[in-house]
Amino acid sequence: MTNILFFKATLLFYFLGTALFMLNLWDNRKEQPETRQTPWPQKFAIVATAAGFLCHTVALGIRLKEGGYVPLTNLQETVSFFSWAMVIAFFWVEIKYQLYILGSFILPLAFLSLISVAALHNEAAPLNPTLINAWFGIHTILSVLGIVAFSIAFIAGIIYLIQDRFLKSKQLTTLYSRLPSLDMLDQWNRQAILFGFPLLTLGIISGALWSQYTMGTLWGKNNSKQALSLGIWFFYLLVLHGRINIGWRAKKAARLAIIGFIGVIFIFVTLA
């Protein structure tokens, strides 16, 4: 029961963090580099996110301890883990680049994914024993981390298109001045996909191994999930190939990252 309490606290904190980050996004005051003053919504947003992250970690820890297995056996558990990893990615980006404005994009995604499965949240259902398997755990962790990386590429793509629009329309607003350069966003997009692709690859391989181990076959004949995952894998392979060999960078890469992510979410939601 305690983990549900922590889970609810997590939701509340993430909600607060999201609201504050949104407020920060519409904060029209000019950033003054000489004073180096952090605007208050941003300060509190980070505090709320950190508090939420702690609760989230505790909730997941309790779940792990209670169940005695990696809690990634159903949709809400997987999404919860995804959301948790997104927040880690957020802190990692913040520490590395000090671009707090990104919280306004990453945290809503973490919050929305978590709240969308919150209704499903209940006590652990009777478990399919085949899911309690090391390969399955590896498969889900790697796949979710891959998706986290693709989400970062997606967010970089979204911000790229926003910033591109600002620059093209010559609307050099306060938000424009706070968003990173197009080049940096394109770099993140590239890095994120370069990071996510091997994770997805290993995720698919470990999934096949788990299938081999439990069902005696590497590749299920009527397994649409596997087929679609492979489709996504090919898509990102194409994206990487395009970037390295044909110059699919900048705006095109931003659009591709968004399309890819929508595909991933589609599979995740329909087939999980």
Partner: protein, 434 residues
């Protein structure tokens, strides 16, 4: 005697005419001699930059002077005719000419208002004229004044900041597109003053390389030297664009030099690497449609000006302040200039002598006590004849020599010898400087 300006600039003449009229430093001496060889021209000076060619002269007759200078310009290049250049020329005389000179020096007449290069170019033109002894008392004074007015405008208004902030805005935009600029390359198409200023900012922000394409290859080479850049032939700029991330166009062509079709090809060759175009030409030299292409960003001079923080109101205020300073300075200069005219000089000189005579007469009459009318008359005619005899020679010289080459010198000397400043109503400041 009058001061006149005949010239053309980026607004009145195409780059083609401007280039054919422009006079290089090495030819300046000959041109100045040719200009001042005409007897109607007493003093002459030529200002030749990328954006303007102006002849400033002191002439004996305003209308004849205009004709002589127009002919001088038309014959300076065999490919030009008087008919071809006349529509592009503007002419100014007396206080209008002074106003124009002050505005040019203060960079109010520049393509980019407030750009700092013009003052240096004006000083160079002045130095050339002094070196070849083609200026005299009037132009020397006028140009010294123009330089001091320009400095006043620069220190007392924020006009100059605007040009600097445009370059700054261009650099800031480039940073938002490319992040760090240290691996980026800049291409200048056309090498005008503003291009140079912007290029300096980009170099200051660490761009890796700079290439300069200019119609006059000589100028491209000269500018390339100052930036450690690479001069390229003007016709090769399109192939150079593939290698360039930031393209600064100030070619001053009458039509679009860069079209969407060309840019499409370049973007494909660049494999979608973004490219930032800055068009500071007036009229524009880059088709605005290229901004619709992916990974292409185009800013013209208005866009940059809008992106600069200072709002339009405050910019207008600064321009107004500058105009006020100029008006003020014109009044003081014109007063001095008018004092050089023979008629008021003669009147002033006579007046001065007469007032001294009257004062001394009065003193003497008071001292001597009762005098008969005859005695008074005798005193009167004696003093009057002394004064007249004394003034006869200076007045004759003034009347006769005022239109000679030394005329202005004689006027100025007379003014000083007889201390006529007050009578000619010239402000105090002028007295100190002369």
């Amino acid at each position: 005697m009058n001061i006149v300006i005949v010239g053309l600039n980026h607004r009145t003449a195409s780059v083609d005419i401007r280039e054919r009229l422009s006079i290089s430093d090495s030819n300046m001496g000959d041109a100045l001699y040719r200009l001042t060889s005409d007897p109607i021209i007493d003093e002459g000076l030529i200002l030749s930059t990328c954006n303007r060619v102006e002849v400033c002269a002191v002439v004996k007759d305003t209308h004849l002077g205009f004709e002589v200078i127009k002919n001088f310009l038309a014959t300076s290049n065999p490919s030009l005719t008087l008919e071809a250049i006349t529509p592009s020329l503007y002419i100014y005389s007396s206080s209008k000419a002074i106003e124009h000179l002050f505005r040019v020096a203060s960079s109010l007449d520049s393509m980019i208002v407030g750009e700092p290069q013009i003052l240096g170019q004006l000083k160079d033109a002045f130095d050339h004229a002094i070196l070849h002894k083609t200026t005299g008392i009037i132009l020397n004074k006028a140009f010294k004044k123009a330089i001091s007015v320009a400095k006043r405008v620069r220190t007392e208004t924020k006009i100059a900041e605007s040009a600097v902030s445009i370059s700054f805005a261009a650099v800031e935009l480039a940073k938002k597109i490319f992040g760090k600029l240290n691996e980026k390359s800049v291409l200048l198409i056309g090498a005008g003053e503003m291009a140079e200023l912007a290029a300096r900012h980009f170099v200051g922000n660490g761009v890796e390389s700079i290439a300069i394409a200019n119609r006059s290859y000589e100028r491209a080479v000269a500018l390339a030297k100052t930036f450690n850049g690479e001069p390229i032939k003007f016709d090769d700029f399109e192939s150079e664009m593939v290698k360039s991330d930031i393209i600064l166009c100030s070619a001053g062509a009458p039509h679009y030099l860069i079209t969407p079709e060309a840019v499409k090809k370049i973007i494909a060759l660049r494999q979608n690497r973004p490219i930032f175009f800055i068009d500071i030409s007036v009229p524009r030299n880059i088709d605005p449609k290229i901004n619709d292409l992916d990974n292409v960003f185009l800013y013209d001079i208005d866009d940059l000006q809008h992106s600069v923080e200072t709002n339009i109101e405050s910019r207008k205020k600064e321009a107004f302040k500058a105009e006020e300073i100029i008006t003020e300075e014109i009044i003081s200069f014109v007063k001095w200039f008018k004092s050089l005219d023979a008629v008021p000089m003669i009147v002033a000189l006579k007046g001065r002598a007469e007032s001294i005579r009257q004062a001394e007469m009065e003193k003497m009459i008071n001292k001597l006590g009762d005098l008969t009318d005859v005695q008074k008359q005798a005193l009167e005619s004696l003093t009057a004849s002394i004064v007249n005899k004394l003034l006869h020679s200076p007045l004759t010289v003034l009347k006769k020599e005022v239109y000679s080459t030394n005329g202005n010198m004689i006027l100025e000397t007379t003014r000083k010898l007889f201390d006529l400043e007050a009578l000619l109503d010239t402000p105090e400041t002028e007295k100190k400087k002369t």
